[in-house]
Amino acid sequence: MKPVRLRMTAFGPYGNTEDVAFDDLCGHKLFLICGPTGAGKTSLLDAMTFALYGEASSLNRDPSHIRSHHAERLTPTRVELDFDIGDTRYRVVRQPAWDRPKKRGPGTTTEPTQAELHERSGGHFRTIASRPNDVLARVTEIMGMSAKEFREIILLPQGEFRRFLEAKPDERESILETLFHTSFYARIARSLKTSANKQEKMLQALSDKLAGVHQGAGVETTEDLQKAIHTGNITAETLQTEVAACEQKAEFARTALETAKHDAAQIAERDRAVESADLLEATALHMQARQVTLLRARDALAIADLVSHHDVRFDAVSRAALDLDATAAELDTARKQKEQAEAVRLQQEALGKTRQDLDARVWEAEKLFNPRDQLVELEVLRQKKHRELEAATDAHIGLQRKHTAIERKSLELGEALARERKLGETADQLSHEVERANATLEQLRELDTEKRAHAELEREWQQANEAVGTGARLQANASHRVAELERAWVAGQAALLASNLEAGEPCPVCGSTLHPRPADEVANMEAPNEAELDASRARVRELETLQMQRHTVEARLHAERKAKQARIETLRLGLESMADRDIAELTANLAELQSQHDSAARARKRALQLENNLTQINTDRTTLRVAIDNAAAAASNAQASAAVIDARITEMEKLVPPELRSPGELEKLLKSTRDAAAAMRKDLLESRERAEATAQRAAAALAALEHTQKHVEREAELEDAARCDLERALRSRDFADRAAWARACLTQEQAEEVNEELQKYNEAVAAARDRLARAQAAARGLRPPDIKALQAWAQESATTLETIRKRYLAALARLDQLQNALRLTHELGEQQQQAEGRWRELCHLADVLSGKNQRKLSFQRFVLAGLFDDVLAAASHRLKIMSRSRYHLRQDDTFKRGGQQGGLNLVVDDAYTGSSRPVSTLSGGESFLAALALALGLSDVVQNYSGGIHLDALFIDEGFGSLDPEALDLAIRALTDLQTGGRMVGIISHVPELQERIPARIEISPTPSGSTVQVVIG
């Protein structure tokens, strides 16, 4: 198996999808899988193992934890491995069962395990298994090994590489058995064993059978059997002689009995013959009588014809008489019927008048049709007219009412109008007043405003005044200050000058040489400098300016004030007395006036409206009047026409009786009347017909009667003739009358019977005579023997004979039985021998092949040992390199315990000590090298074995850390050598040295979102 490409999604530490393309190793067969601890190095191998078998790379790793914690919630864990077996490329995809978040709703749903196996043919992949169980089975088949073997041979898992090295021989056997397909050898041993067991059973069965045979024969051993046979023979002979004697005796007795019986029979016969002859005599008379009967019968037969002929005639006559009676009866009936029918007919004829009446009624009824129809129409019309009349009347009344209402309304409106008009007249006046009030109010308001403004101005002016005052004060102060400062400065200057004064020196100011009171130094301290002076002067000037401004402001304000005052006066004048009125009051008044004015105006408007309304109403009234008139006219019209209709109706009603007025009544009457008439006519016709028919029948009956009478006469004649003939014949044959003739008749069978009887009798008589004659002859001179005694004797001898015979036969039978048994015994003995021989062979062979032999080596083990030798040779070759010829691996049974099976025990020869020791005594590093050598050796041999599995790749998970630097060098050299064999070797190791020594690497880097994989060369 050589991996080509591995793709892992959400697997172990790989959160996303990571691709490892082994092709990227660019032909480097030896490569390193490196990365920090926990990055996912072993997980890479887990992924491969999982993809193939659904299991982890070592038993310590739980496959249910393979789902990556870094995985997206909706991403399933999935591993895909493309690999080559020989020339065929396969792809296995496996997705373990996982809890997927539901697409709808909370919670998860479990997706089951999925697996697929594809095989590449012709450039694309086709699926060859698609259920996890099938995939596992197929993978195991094409890999040639199960997951367990995979972990021990192709993948040496971390910490477990020693498994195969240190395995017990039985385990080793099972692994090698799988790899080299040697199970045949184990099975053949088992098959032989099974056969041996079967054979043993067969042997046992034979033995049992033999025992059975002996038992059946009633003996214990074969010897007894033979003795019994001998005895039996003798007994049989003796019995045979006895039998012969008895037979003779019996025969004699029998013969005597026979003879006696014969004699007795003869005598008996003679007696019987006599008896029968006598019997026959007794019946002779009876026989004669029978003869006579027969003769008479013959006679009767002769005239039978005549008798029958007469009978026929007699019957005919009777029949004819009957006919006659019948015919007469018929005639009678026919006559009666005729009379009845005639009577009916006459009745019917008599009803002529009624019929006429009926016809007249029909005609009458027909006449009424027209008037009735008219009546109906008129009725309808009348209804209509009445309704119209009603309607017209109603309309009229309604209109009148309306009119009344309108009148009333008109009056009302008139009154309202008058009112409103009055109100409206005041409107104009009010509006004037409103205007005036408005104007006054305006003025007042203005005055008020002016007053306020004036007050404001006053205030401002006051302020300005004050400001001017203040300003003046400030100014004064400032001027004082300036003066002070000047004085001070002067003083200072003076002081300064004074300070420089020398007595006798002229003062710079006045020139005096006397300085009585020089300026004070103290004042000098407060002397301002030029700057300060200037500043205060400036301040004064400033203030002046300000003061001027203030004055200006004040003046302005004053002027304004004055103006305002003037204005106010003007306004006051304008208002006169109103000037002092309250604005609020005035405003209220104005409002009042305004409202009054408004209502007046509204009243005016309403008046107009009312006028309009009134006009309208009057118009309406007029219209209404007209309508009323029309309505009245209509009503009277309607009435008139109604009256007309009524008159007509009355007329019609005279014609038609009330019960016939409604539609259908007349029709019914007409129909019934017509029907009655028709019925009557029918009756009449019927009665006529019936009368005719009956008359005819009566005539026919009369004719029949006459005919029949003639027939009767004829028949009587014939009968008479026949009677005469018969009487004649009877007399000639001596028959008294017909009854006697009848008595003498015999049927054919009866006659024959009698005949036979007679014949038999005759014969019997003849025979009896013969018999008698013979019997007498035979029994002459014989005497009756004593049968009983002879019988008893014969019986006795027969019984004895029987007994002896039985005994003899029994003895023979027994002899036979014993001889059979002997024969069987011989046969079985032979079979036993054969079977035993075979069994022994089978047992021996089975045992030998199963390992029960001197060397305690089974067949399979033997074969495997040979193979294992090859493996060890290859392994030792490598180990030689890695241990520099110190160690050599070998099969040896020296260290096995006594009862264990031999073969497949592994020891290591140590050149340093010259002795061998079990492999478990190697140190950690040494055992790693040995295990590695063994794995390599195993894969070498399996590769070459025909039909063997392809072990094109080997993976080693750690173990190099246990090697010292030299050993590491040797191991690396050994692995590097492997590359020439075309085998891929992948190493997982954290040993830093390896990273420097092995250029082709698969580097695994952990990141916060899962690990990533990268192939690096160099």
Binding site: L192, N853, R884, R886, A911
Partner: protein, 399 residues
């Protein structure tokens, strides 16, 4: 650094430049599990003494300084001491390059600082190697160090994708060396590689990365190529290209090699003269052979009984506890070998099982466990069952 030429300390040299060429010290190596550090310490002390006597202008160590990429602390101490003695105590400038056993990056730690004290360590390949310049009375001599690197590393360093093996890597490096050395001037290159035509020894670790050998004409254009990697001191074709050889014998197959350091003189014309100065180890690697009795007998008379020995026992019968007994007399026996013949005896004759059929196997098996041949009755009995089983098996019954 601007320009191609780095002015390190320029040393004054005598008439012609004298070079002390050594390589492959493999400090910290062990052999058959025994550490050789004490021997290496002695030999390195010897080397320092020789160097102190010879007073060369420069000491060249052409790679494989350490035995491993991460050496033990004792090894580091030893190297530290040795270099200190060479450079500081004796004032000898040293140029050393990394070999395939060294980790170039680790070795080059503080190389810039060290360069100030005339210890030039070149651990990594560079696209433009800068020479160390020493001058003698005739003029400057340019020394270029080309440390060992995998072709991949060289490819990256040079930025040249066509480098995929050691030949192309070395060619490319030498091109830049030639470009960097002024025309007509003397130049010396240190390299750690395998040159075609050279003799390899057992103790060398093979180079990885494509074609591992380099043509000797790659080194045309320099006055002298001081090579390391092969443990046998040898020149390739002429004195210009030379391997100094390893510090001591590192494998028993090298027992016949004499180890040495090389004193090389290059005059103005570029003529090279080489003188080998032997190195003698207190404990040599030697091979003995004979029967156990013989060897044990000879032990008493062997003056060099402390040597590291590989003993080949020629006994045909088994010998027990050979190692212990030998070590009683030769304390430093490292390895015992047995003569080849014994190793092939196994309990059964090797067969090509794939070609034998089961009946033959049965024969052999029976003979082996019972000691008698199979009778024909037994054979037919077996055949019966075998036929039956085979037909069942081939019809796909699960075994």
């Amino acid at each position: 650094m601007s320009g191609n030429i780095r002015h390190a300390l320029v040393h004054e040299i005598g008439a012609c430049v004298r070079i002390f060429h050594t390589s492959d010290w493999h400090v910290g190596r062990s052999l058959y599990g025994t550490s050789l550090l004490s021997d290496q310490a002695e030999l390195l002390a010897e080397l320092v003494r020789i160097a102190a006597d010879e007073q060369p202008d420069v000491v060249l160590i052409a790679g494989d300084i350490y035995d491993r990429a991460v050496p033990s602390h004792a090894a580091v101490d030893l190297l530290d001491e040795t270099l200190h003695n060479l450079v500081i105590k004796n004032g000898l400038p040293c140029i050393l390059i990394a070999g395939n056993h060294d980790s170039g990056e680790r070795l080059a730690f503080s190389s810039r600082l060290l360069a100030r004290e005339s210890l030039h360590v070149i651990g990594r390949p560079s696209s433009s190697p800068k020479p160390i310049v020493l001058s003698d009375t005739h003029g400057p001599v340019y020394f270029f160090g080309l440390p060992y690197a995998s072709p991949g590393e060289v490819r990256e360093a040079m930025g040249n994708d066509s480098i995929n093996d050691h030949q192309t890597a070395m060619t490319s490096a030498m091109n830049s060396v030639r470009a960097a050395s002024p025309h007509g001037a003397r130049s010396v290159v240190l390299a750690h590689t395998f040159v075609t035509g050279a003799k390899a020894s057992e103790s060398e670790r093979p180079l990885v990365g494509g074609l591992a050998s380099v043509e000797r004409r790659t080194f045309d254009g320099v006055s002298y190529a001081a090579l390391g990697h092969l443990h046998r001191p040898q020149t390739i074709h002429d004195e210009r290209i030379r391997y100094a050889g390893s510090l001591m014998r590192y494998a028993f197959s090298e027992a016949d090699q004499d180890k040495s350091v090389s004193m090389v003189e290059i005059d103005l014309a570029g003529e090279v003269t080489v003188r080998e100065i032997p190195l003698t180890a207190k404990r040599d690697l030697r091979c003995l052979s004979g029967s156990l009795q013989q060897v044990l007998g000879a032990a008493a008379l062997d003056p060099r009984y402390l040597d590291y020995l590989e003993i080949t026992l020629t006994d045909t019968k088994p010998v027990f506890d050979a190692m212990r007994r030998l070590r009683e007399h030769y304390p430093n026996v490292l390895h015992i070998r047995r003569a080849e013949t014994e190793l092939d005896t196994t309990s059964t004759v090797r067969r090509d099982l794939s070609r034998m059929d089961d009946r033959e196997l049965l024969n052999d098996f029976y003979q082996h466990v019972v000691g008698l041949p199979l009778s024909s009755a037994q054979r037919s009995l077996y055949d019966e069952h075998a036929v039956d089983l085979r037909s069942k098996w081939s019809s796909g019954d699960d075994p």
